[in-house]
Amino acid sequence: MSITVSNLSFNYGERPVLDNVNVKAEPGQLLSIIGPNGVGKSTLFHCMLGLLNSYKGQIKINGKDIKGLGVKDMAKLIAYVPQSHYPSFNFSVFDMVLMGTTVQVSAYSTPGKEQTKLVESALERLGIAHLKHRGYTKISGGERQLIIIARALVQQTGVLILDEPTANLDFGNQILVLTQIRYLAKDGYTIVQATHNPEYAFMFSDRVLAIHEGKVLADGTPSNIVTEELMHKLYSVDIDVQSLYKDKVRVCIPKIVIGDK
């Protein structure tokens, strides 16, 4: 399933947040959206997920306009992975993932055997089956993030939206989570993620979209986007971008540090 956002504009009252934004993501593709805080990434995601409806422009999933679709229909098209969080109640990992199947059962019933199988295979796929009976609040942030991803998988949609999946994770867990996301893209999911780290955007994505002040600043392959000039424009700091391992990796070094040391 592909997702296409055309000429999207959104205002919070008088204040424009998004201005004529175009996004396109295809199956098997990992699209990273980069940009400073408060440029409208979350608003863009909320529009794409159908949580905000008062936008101008058009959002299509698999060619179908999502405007006016009910929550149930939306939940069958697109799944959301919020930042790893700490809920009010300590659910078991199994129950937490099972909640993703809610849309498949009628309002007055609870998920059954079929849904249990989905949960088990999703946990297996992400290599976290051993956590099944643990409490969700008793495991690490990286594990929690993988569990929310598993929950999105059992929702059985083609499109996944991830809001800074590596926020608040330690270094090892960041790599672990991003690697799993990369595998999912390879398996055919359409994935759109927000990230704060241009190096990760370069290393893991197929395409990168840079948003600045509500507008699309640039959209293209990682090597076209993660450049000194664009990073400077985007983050308003002088950055030295170095290419390593025959341009398999790019490192962003703030110039200020180099000068002072």
Binding site: G50, F89, H133, K138
Partner: protein, 338 residues
């Protein structure tokens, strides 16, 4: 390491057996002694005709005094616990209780008003019920006007409107006749099941069923709602609509309960917590467990209330005496990790 829980089915079965045992046990308690064979005889005689070996007075006490009171104790315990658990879920707050939206404050005001007008017991119940629903409706419409987070707006509006009605109750106490009305109001506020009759049971049965059945059926969806509105919506739950339905049902059962019993605190907070310890936070298991547990708890507390001393001890006082220390134990106990 992973600590193995007692399986859910075993817990539910045990609670069910415990409830039946508690009900049977409660039949024997009271000033007027009835022995097991007499009880058995009276019950069986309702279905098939057998020779009477008990006094008519025994049958009257059993059916008109003890039975309605036992049923009411179970129903109220069940309702308050289910309402507490539901509110905790939809407000994402483990400290939420059935009076969070002002349902009890409204009921108290209604009852006090009816007592001030020298109304009979039935009218007092109706006043309490109507004012309870009215309060929560007012709270709901105020919260819709409130800026910012919907859930926070509801809770704040609940506190405000609740305190307004409490002030109203205080004023009524001030102007009430201190010889008969004031003690009646005070006694009502302390909570008691002593007014239970077959008639009160039939009155509250309908609103209680109307509230409890949807809460039971929607219990899985309450899980998803505890994660917050945005997440719930992306998982296909119309969070606004579901929250209204749950609030309506929980309010209905709370209003029905407090309108016949007066203020009974702690049950809606302590019992869901205990049940969470027993079966976990998944509402699929939590809701049935908390309903059964609440019924058992209030029935046993009411047994103490009517049998411990010569005069009846108000139920609200007992639940607080049992609930508060128990809660201290709960929050200071080291939480088990799993």
């Amino acid at each position: 390491m992973d600590k193995k829980r007692v399986p859910y089915s075993v817990i539910i079965l045990s609670l069910g057996i415990l409830l039946i045992a508690a009900i049977t046990f409660s039949f024997f308690l009271g000033r007027y002694p009835i022995n097991p064979s007499q009880l058995f005889g009276i019950l069986v005689s309702r279905v098939i005709h057998i020779r009477q070996f008990w006094t008519d007075q025994m049958a009257t006490i059993l059916f008109n005094v003890r039975l309605p009171r036992i049923i009411l104790a179970c129903l109220v315990g069940c309702c308050l616990s289910a309402a507490g658990a539901s509110y905790q879920g939809i407000f994402q707050n483990p400290m939420a209780a059935p009076d969070i939206l002002g349902a009890t404050a409204g009921a108290a005001f209604g009852a006090a008003l009816a007592i001030l007008q020298n109304q009979n017991h039935l009218v007092i119940t109706l006043y309490a019920f109507c004012f309870s629903l009215l309060t929560v409706t007012v709270v709901y419409f105020i919260s819709r006007k409130a800026q910012g987070k919907q859930v926070l707006g509801l809770v704040l509006a609940g506190i405000m409107v609740g305190s307004l009605f409490s002030a109203g109750t205080s004023y009524i106490k001030l102007v009430a006749d201190s010889n008969n009305q004031l003690p009646a109001i005070t006694y009502w506020l302390m909570g008691s099941l002593s007014g239970a009759t077959t008639q009160t049971v039939t009155i509250v049965l309908l609103p209680m069923a109307l509230g409890l059945i949807p809460l039971f059926l929607l219990r899985w969806r309450i899980n998803v709602l505890t994660l917050g509105d945005d997440e719930a919506r992306t998982m296909g739950i119309n969070s606004t609509r579901l929250r209204i339905i749950v609030i309506m049902c929980a309010t209905l059962v709370t209003a029905a309960s407090v309108s016949v019993t007066g203020m009974i605190g702690w049950v809606g907070l302590v019992i869901p917590h205990l049940s969470r310890r027993l079966v976990g936070n998944n509402y699929k298991h939590l809701m049935p467990a908390t309903m059964l547990f609440g019924a058992i708890f209030l029935l046993l507390v009411d047994d103490v209330s009517r049998n411990l001393l010569q005069t009846e001890i108000p139920l609200g006082i007992l639940t607080a005496f049992i609930g508060a220390p128990f809660f201290v134990y709960l929050i200071t106990r080291k939480e088990e990790t799993y």
